[in-house]
């Protein structure tokens, strides 16, 4: 049994009157500590797959297991707990809360997990230092560069010590240099901290850091290839 296991996963949703079959019997297993890049053209089901891997959504049919727990059997509030404690998200558009400082953005996931104020402030500061923003803790997102914002997002993803980091096009809105440093950061998290990193990306350079690349097409895995 692997860490994350998808078997014959399908996902359908309604778009107006038409039923979109986003995933059509997808099989995938991911080991703990692995970096997996998920690639594929638009409409291949990358986002839908990420939603299911991130416990944001459940499959229409098939099995999605995280350490043997079928995510489809969990209630909405149990899914929230899984997301809050075991998964960290990094988005293409950073998705920081504009009204909050970097520090507070990193503290936010800990607030929802009821981490005591002092602990979480300390943790947030440590994490921001770790991503190289120790001197930017009180800046608002709009006072930070794109690369810095994505670093805050990475720090936020790490707030509750999740086992899995789900990064959706993390370099998509960054210049090459900032992108490379974010990828370095993610790589370190896997190598040094044993985090499982799932990278959804178009960017071949991003895929470079992956142990394995999974190519999607029409809602199923077209090809898997090892790397390095």
């Amino acid at each position: 049994m692997s860490f994350l296991e998808l078997r014959q996963v399908t996902k359908e949703y309604q778009l107006g009157k038409t039923t979109v079959r986003a995933l059509r019997g997808l099989d995938l297993s991911i080991a703990q500590g692995e970096i997996v890049a998920i690639m594929g053209p638009s409409g291949s089901g990358k986002s839908t797959l990420m939603h299911i891997l991130g416990a944001l959504d459940v499959p229409t049919s098939g099995l999605a297991e995280l350490e043997g727990t079928d995510l489809a059997t969990l209630s909405e509030s149990q899914l929230v707990t899984v997301r809050g404690q075991r998964i960290g998200f990094v988005f293409q558009t950073f998705n920081l809360i504009q009204t909050l400082s970097a520090q507070m953005n990193v503290e936010l996931p800990m607030i929802f997990q009821k981490v005591p104020r002092r602990d979480r402030a300390q943790k947030a500061t440590t994490l921001l230092e770790r991503v190289g923003l120790g001197d930017r803790t009180h800046h608002k997102p709009n006072e930070l560069s794109g690369g810095e914002r994505q670093r805050v997002a990475v720090a936020r993803a790490l707030a509750n010590d999740p086992e899995i980091i789900l990064a959706d096009e993390p370099t998509g809105n960054l210049d090459t240099e900032s992108g490379a440093s974010i990828l370095d950061l993610l790589k370190t998290l896997s190598r040094n901290d044993g985090k499982t990193i799932i990278l959804v990306t178009h960017d071949p350079e991003a895929a470079e850091i992956a142990d394995r690349i999974v190519q999607l097409k029409d809602g199923a895995v077209r090809k898997e290839a090892g790397h390095v």
Binding site: R83, Q98, A159
Partner: protein
């Protein structure tokens, strides 16, 4: 954790300053109106009660023809004359005094040409005790120098209103005729100042100054006109330690059993009546002001819906990083509640300022002093109520925010 949500909500309000303030203005206009009206209403009630209690004291009450204070107005005691001695004999009664009003034919002294003024005037019979025992009912009585008030022994003596004394060409010591009976003038009232604001006591029966009234001892009217058909009012003072409401009940029962149709009115009766009247008026006015509060609440709701729409993605992100539906719900509810609360705080301050201003204006222009009631409970209830108003207005938008599916919310651009 609530403190954190409070902070999140505050940041969000502060971030959208313009819109938040406009929304808050909508709330505080309503709150201002409500607070001002309630505070003025309470103040008016307090002022009236204070005056009534000043007049009545805690040990006096009034016997009045039944219906005086009810619908239909007073119809007099008709055929029943209240015997003051009988009233005095009732357990708990210390003193009783009465005022009786008749219209009498009065003839003055001849002037230099030998003509005398005659005509019908208001002749008022006063118990001597009225002036000595119930000064607060009568108001301040001032006689011209040399004059005196009635005593128990007095019979055919009179005290004249200032104006009537002039008309009758009478002065201290002169004799005038009432219903053909000579009366000695023992006093003349000092001309009243035409100042309405000067409190003359609530029993200043003669709405004006009493300047054109002839006063005689109460008992004399019995000789002139027979048993009273027009006792204006009878005042009763209770003995020390007796309960005013008990004695009033007893007097009322005793006299009515003898065939009178009277009621005893105590301070608490009047106070209740004033209270009922004022709260009806206040409730009516506050209800009208409440309409503007409703409009304010709809404003809050509108702002919150806009906010939910704008922050759809933010809601998605919060849910992705572990926010439960209830967390989102509380954050939005706190936000709308806080707008209500700020509106309430500003409204309370403005409302109180407004009623102080109104009170000052009334006092300055009309010489009416109205207390402004700004009790801690009024303020607390207003603040709590305005937070509640905001929160209620935010219920629906907050619920919508909390129910947004996370995937859809994240995808929202």
């Amino acid at each position: 954790m609530f403190r954190d949500f409070f902070l999140l909500a505050a940041r969000s309000i502060a971030h959208r300053k313009m819109r938040s303030w406009l929304t808050i203005i909508g709330v505080f206009i309503g709150i201002t109106a409500v607070v001002a009206l309630i505070s003025i209403g309470l103040g008016l009630e307090k002022t009236i009660n204070d005056q009534v209690s000043e007049v009545f004291g805690i040990d006096s009450f009034v016997i009045s023809p039944e219906g005086t204070f009810g619908p239909g107005g007073g119809h007099g005691t008709d055929t029943f004359a209240i015997d003051l001695d009988e009233v005095r004999a009732i357990d708990g009664v210390q003193e009783a005094a009465a005022i009786r009003d008749e219209t009498g034919f009065v003839e003055g002294l001849p002037d230099a040409e030998g003509d005398s003024v005659k005509g019908f005037l208001s002749v008022m019979g006063l118990s001597p005790e009225l002036l000595t025992e119930f000064p607060s009912f009568v108001g301040e009585v001032e006689l011209e120098e040399g004059g005196r008030q009635f005593t128990d022994a007095d019979r055919y003596v009179t005290i004249l209103g200032n104006e009537v004394a002039g008309r009758l060409n009478a002065s201290l010591g002169s004799m005038i005729e009432i219903e053909g009976q000579p009366f000695e003038v023992v006093g003349v009232f000092v001309a009243s100042e035409e100042d309405e604001s000067e409190q003359r006591g609530m029993m200043s029966y003669d709405a004006g100054s009493g300047d054109d009234t002839v006063y005689v001892p109460y008992d004399v009217l019995l000789d002139l006109y027979g048993p009273a058909e027009s006792v204006l009012v009878t005042l009763v003072r209770i003995t020390d330690g007796a309960d005013v409401d008990d004695v009033a009940d007893r007097v009322e029962t005793t006299l009515n059993e003898q065939g009178a149709e009277i009621m005893a009115i105590t301070y608490s009766d009047i106070s209740d009546m004033v209270g009922t009247m004022m709260s009806t008026i206040s409730a009516f006015l506050a209800g009208i002001a409440g309409i503007s509060l409703l409009v304010g609440a709809v404003g809050v709701m509108n702002t919150m819906f806009t906010s939910v729409l704008e922050r759809t993605k933010e809601i998605g992100v919060m849910k992705a990083v572990g926010a439960k539906n209830s967390h989102v719900w509380i954050i939005f509810l706190t936000e709308s509640g806080m707008m209500g609360l700020v509106g309430g705080a500003v409204g309370t301050i403005l409302g109180l300022a407004l009623s102080w201003g109104a009170s000052a204006l009334l006092s300055r222009v009309f010489g009416i002093d109205i207390a402004v009631v700004a009790s801690a409970s009024l303020i607390a209830i207003t603040l709590l109520g305005s937070f509640g108003l905001g929160a209620i207005a935010g219920l629906w938008p907050a619920r919508r925010a909390s129910k947004l599916p996370v995937v859809d919310a994240l995808r929202y651009e």
